[in-house]
Symmetry: C2
């Protein structure tokens, strides 16, 4: 089938670009000697995780236990759940997962570690944990070296839990004004953890792993001596935000949303059949809601739930029925709403992949 | 099961509030003599559509053919697809649907009408159409009475297509600064269509239906003589935006997202296990991303994909493990991401409903 024959809205994954993105990140990390553990929240598909692992990733990262379960069932056995696991139902599931796979989790509090210890003892297991440190993003994470040392020392005597490393996330890189600033954030995130590991070691807490990074910061963070692992996610598809932040060009974006012009109310306005329920309301560092491939004169000016409102310049070339491809602001938000994607290559539809971990929110 | 025992994040639907919202809108429209055709995009669930119909709704509205198919399969037979249907695959599905149910669709162009006529003739059918008129929102719709009259007259001779009415949507009411302004927008949307129907009638195009409205504007539009149908959607659950615009209070919001505090990095900050992938990035007319029920001192300050970042005042009362309920900015955006919801009443979980039309984007 040709791409133009697909009904819309539909997510297209350009297989050749996907492969190239997987290759590019793998090569860039490989030369630093650091391990790559991509965040699967971007794609939620075992098919993509397998490509990443085939090209040298040591495993994957996920945010949700449900995602880990889907990936493990598909044969992906080395998974970092980069999220604090809270509550009995999840702890039971974590133990089941950990008994059959190589699972690590994040934690940043005694409360989380203690409950995990109880669950692990009941399950006759030992769970590997990375302590999360706030890299200046202001989300989760330990707030000071002193706090980390106190928690690390306290956890030494906790049965069923083994501290294996530190994790950070320099999410403030998404607000950076320049590549220099992104580089600085990535290096600071990494150095902070490397120095903290030294201090923890002096305090008797020995940790191997220093896990950092996002798509913008990974290439900078991976070059800081002492870092052992980077966790970029969005690079695999890329999107308008990543292009703005310097991860390749629009021609590297593997994910587009195919949409149809359904109305031409005025000469300057076209309406397409995808809105926030397909592209999300996620903003980019630049105005608008996406880039229309091959139509630099067209802007995605606004979205409502099921309508995209395009400004189309002189309006020629986009009559009702025209199919357009939109590079979204944020690929992860799009994948989160679609049940399947079409895999395309050279204008032809080669495959259909289910977004197997979509909706696995718990 | 008690609500507190549910794992998170989870969507809770308060059954009693849902019933009250269904009742309140039905009663408010009933006294005007106008028909109610709620927009099912908000709930995407046959269970809710059946409640609306049982309380007097003549049928439902949907945005997507896929939603119509799910609803028709569940026995809801009178459906207005308030969206221009474009492309052969959809036209074939529309004909199948229309051959077994009472289906109406929207259109605002000759292109759409002509292709629909061809498909209907092939299917041996006649499709009922409402012409969409731009009510000043600047999305779809005919731009002037002259344009509407020209299209209406032209369509008179089109086989397989029967013009039955006019539809508007005063979406600009969501930007209104006051209830007076919302009332004015609703009345203007209605009056514009009623007057246009007169002019069309003089031009030989007779139409019965005048279909208008949204949750904010319906009660005003329904009171304009000549209006025959209103299509509010979000009222059924309500949300933070609707409360701000005057549809009841927070205590009328039937949809909340149950979430767990997973991290307390600082005294003022709590992190919960739902972010944009559960609450959406949809903004409200006021800052923030939701209201935490029973905690007026807490604000939902920011969201990332899987984290909600809360400012918690003095931080007492929300330790790790605390379950909180969030009234989202926009209920429709939440439903669009969850596969199921828990139906609760008086603190107990009574049922689990599948969001059957979720993901039916085409």
């Amino acid at each position: 089938m040709r791409v133009e024959d697909l009904d819309t809205p539909a997510v297209l994954i350009d297989y050749d670009r996907l492969r190239a993105n997987v290759e590019r990140m793998a090569a860039s990390v490989e030369e630093t000697g650091v391990a790559l553990r991509p965040h699967a929240k971007t794609h939620k598909m075992p098919e993509v995780a397998r490509m990443q692992i085939a090209r040298g990733s040591r495993g994957i990262t996920v945010a949700k236990l449900g995602e880990a379960e889907v990936m493990a069932a598909a044969g992906i056995r080395d998974i970092f759940v980069a999220y604090p696991i809270v509550g009995e139902p999840k702890l039971e599931r974590l133990c089941r997962l950990a008994s059959e796979n190589r699972i690590r989790v994040a934690a940043d509090s005694w409360d989380v570690l203690e409950a995990m210890s109880d669950a692990a003892i009941r399950g006759g297991l030992c769970i590997d944990v990375l302590l999360e440190v706030d890299s200046g993003f202001g989300r989760c994470g330990l707030q000071s070296p002193e706090q980390a040392i106190e928690l690390g020392r306290r956890a030494l005597d906790l049965p069923g839990v083994r501290l294996v490393g530190l994790m950070g996330f320099g999410g403030q890189s998404y607000e950076a004004a320049s590549r220099e600033e992104i580089g600085r954030i990535g290096r600071e995130e990494a150095s902070q953890l490397v120095e903290l590991r030294e201090r923890l070691c002096e305090a008797g807490v020995e940790l191997e792993e220093i896990s950092v990074g996002s798509t913008p910061t990974s290439r900078y963070a991976a070059r800081v001596p002492g870092v052992t692992e980077v966790r970029p996610g969005t690079y695999v598809f890329s999107d308008r935000t990543q292009v703005h932040l310097g991860w390749g060009s629009l021609n590297d974006c593997a994910l587009t949303v195919l949409t149809t012009v359904v109305s031409r109310p005025t000469r300057e306005r076209a309406i397409v059949d995808v809105g926030t329920k397909g592209l999300s309301s996620d903003a980019a560092p630049v105005p608008g809601y996406g880039v229309v491939v091959g139509h630099p004169e067209v802007s995605v000016e606004a979205l409502t739930e099921e309508h995209g409102i395009l400004r189309v310049g002189d309006g020629r070339g986009v009559p009702v029925g025209t199919k357009l491809r939109i590079v979204p602001n944020h690929a992860c938000g799009v994948i989160n709403m679609f049940d399947d994607v079409w895999v395309v290559s050279d204008g032809r539809v080669e495959d259909r992949w289910r977004v197997a971990a979509r909706g696995r929110m718990r």
